[in-house]
Amino acid sequence: MSDMLTIGGHTFQSRFILGSGKFSLEIMKAVIEHGEAEIVTLALRRANTGGEENILDYIPKEITLLPNTSGARNAEEAVRIARLSRELGCGDFVKLEVIHDSKYLLPDNYETIKATEILAKEGFIVMPYMYPDLYAARSLVNAGAAAVMPLGAPIGSNKGLSTKDFIQILVDEINLPIIVDAGIGRPSQACEAMEMGVDAIMCNTAIATANDVALMAKAFKQAIEAGRAAYLAGLGRVLNFKAEASSPLTGFLED
């Protein structure tokens, strides 16, 4: 059965999106290979183009780049960074990050919506990172987003699906790929999100801070695949009571 992830008209076999912000460059390739990720984010502020230590040199050419706008504090700055990424040849994908808080790094949904509207009109495939709020997600859809990327927990926290119930609302209500971005700390949490019907998982810190990053990338790949399969299979029902008796208590009734 073919089960592809489609974002902005592009299709992907893998539902694992790898963040690149916290790796040493030389191990990037191994992590991509073991995780079989087809999309890798790229912090444009780290892309030392033309200089030493250019991250672009460490990402295989067949990988789809997802440049992000980290560092942007408002819509205007995000738009300018996105345009710069396109000029640098990073393609039309952009992961929109608008953050105005240096402590919690929570996304500013309002500014994100404004930037999405501008960039979508310019032909970008906009993937906005957002706080899981239904109204904001609807606005992102109307603004032309190609996917919606709610956070599971604050960036880098590895705390998992703190916002699970609200992500479930987005999965149920929003007709775009829902990609959990930020907070996923364990493969089991990635699997749980996929079982809920989330379309893809983005992960960075959980892998970057593991002892064996390549092996952890592989574990995430497998967990994401398992979660997806479980979702497609349809999870078995959960009983509200202790058990279902094989001899029902009401079996004596005749009519």
Partner: protein, 384 residues
């Protein structure tokens, strides 16, 4: 020479006063900070928390925390990893002038100190910038002595404009400015400002800053806030450890930074931890109280109190110390440093402010960072 004594707690002519009660808050809290009252139990309680309160911060800065340095280091390493990954940012300072109108008893640039003074011409500044850029660095920090006459705001602005041709990140470590002046330098291309309070003990501050505009304690204290009001993106804090009671000074610097962060949540906060070093014509002066253990305690306390803040490690410290604190606590380090005026392209023009301990060039520092499994980062900012 007779020195006209000014009130160090007053503003001088031309100094902008902003509405802020942070100075009173910090000074009151510092006065009440009695670090001897904390026990090992307080330290253990603090170390078991995910988010440290001000009281927890006070505990881990206390002498009772000294036996817990290893525990603090382990927790700090995890926090640093969580917030900054493997990254260690690289930059270099460029002294563009060393004229100074202040008389500060601990500084090589003091007006009474007989040293070679210089200001780089625009051509010399550009030669320096080109030479530094050729090493691969993309972040530069401009420094001057504190002389509005010899290195005025216009002059600094011009050098910043020059630097935008070669560097993605430009910081300034100059005399405190008014909001409009910060806004002007921001428009020229500067985004980050470092102002170190030296000591938060106002009595000591008065004793070591004998004359000059630096003598005004409140004007210096409010510099970070004026910089943020002027549109700068990030501000750095620090006390010159060893000038006074370093625990109280570090406590005050941390609290100062916290208050700023709470009021300006978008601000990128960072710390520096300079210790007193021997300086020209005063080789005897050295920090007697702040040894490496104490210095590390301060750095660890900053990291655990504000895990998202950047921490810069100075070339004042020896290579071995610097190499061990990156990844654990420090997120930024300088390389290829000259603390005289110029010195990157040609012979330096002016004398140094202090002695440095780590003279490795960019390539050597880069290799060291790599050898530790960390990632040297040259570019971490887009000017938009």
């Amino acid at each position: 020479m007779k020195i006209k004594k000014t009130d160090h707690m007053q503003y001088m002519d031309g100094m902008e006063a902003i509405e802020s009660d942070f100075m009173e808050k910090v000074l009151t809290a510092m006065k009440e900070y009695d670090y001897d009252q904390y026990s090992s139990r307080d330290v253990e309680t603090a170390l078991n928390k995910a988010q440290l309160s001000i009281e927890d911060y006070a505990a881990i800065l206390s002498p009772a925390a000294m036996p817990y340095l290893e525990d603090m280091a382990r927790k700090a390493t995890a926090e640093t990893r969580k917030h900054f990954g493997n990254s260690v940012s690289l930059f270099t300072p460029l002294y563009i002038a060393n004229y100074c109108e202040n008389q500060c008893v601990y500084c090589g640039f003091s007006i009474t100190n007989k040293i070679n003074r210089a200001t780089l011409s625009m051509q010399e500044a550009e030669d320096e910038l080109k030479a530094i850029a050729a090493t691969g660095l993309k972040e530069i920090l401009f420094l001057t002595g504190e002389s509005r006459l010899k290195s005025g705001v216009e002059y600094i602005g011009e050098t910043i404009k020059l630097a935008t041709k070669y560097f993605s990140t430009i910081g300034i470590e100059i005399y405190p400015l008014n909001t409009e002046e910060y806004a002007f330098l921001h428009s020229c291309g500067a985004d980050f400002v470092s102002v170190y309070q030296e000591t938060y003990n106002t009595d000591t501050y008065e004793l070591v800053h004998l004359r000059g505009s630096k003598r005004s304690f409140p004007y210096r204290f409010h510099a970070q806030e004026r910089a943020l009001l002027g549109g700068l993106r990030g501000v750095a804090f620090g006390a010159l450890l060893g000038l006074d009671d370093f625990r109280k000074d570090a406590f005050a610097a941390g609290l100062h930074a916290l208050l700023i962060q709470q009021k300006y949540p978008h601000a990128e906060i960072s710390f520096s931890t300079p210790r007193l070093r021997p300086y020209i014509n005063n080789a005897e002066n050295n920090s007697k109280d702040v040894h490496e253990k104490q210095l590390l305690q301060v750095m660890l306390a900053y990291r655990l109190f504000m895990p998202y803040a950047g921490i810069t490690i100075s070339t004042r410290e020896r290579a071995g110390f610097r190499d061990h604190v990156i990844g654990m606590v420090a997120t930024k380090m300088s390389a290829g440093v000259s603390v005289g005026v110029g010195g990157h392209s040609e012979e330096q023009k002016g004398d140094e402010q202090f002695e440095i301990s780590d003279e490795r060039n960019v390539k050597e520092v880069h290799q060291m960072i790599r050898s530790k499994g960390l990632q040297p980062v040259f570019t971490d900012y887009i000017r938009v």
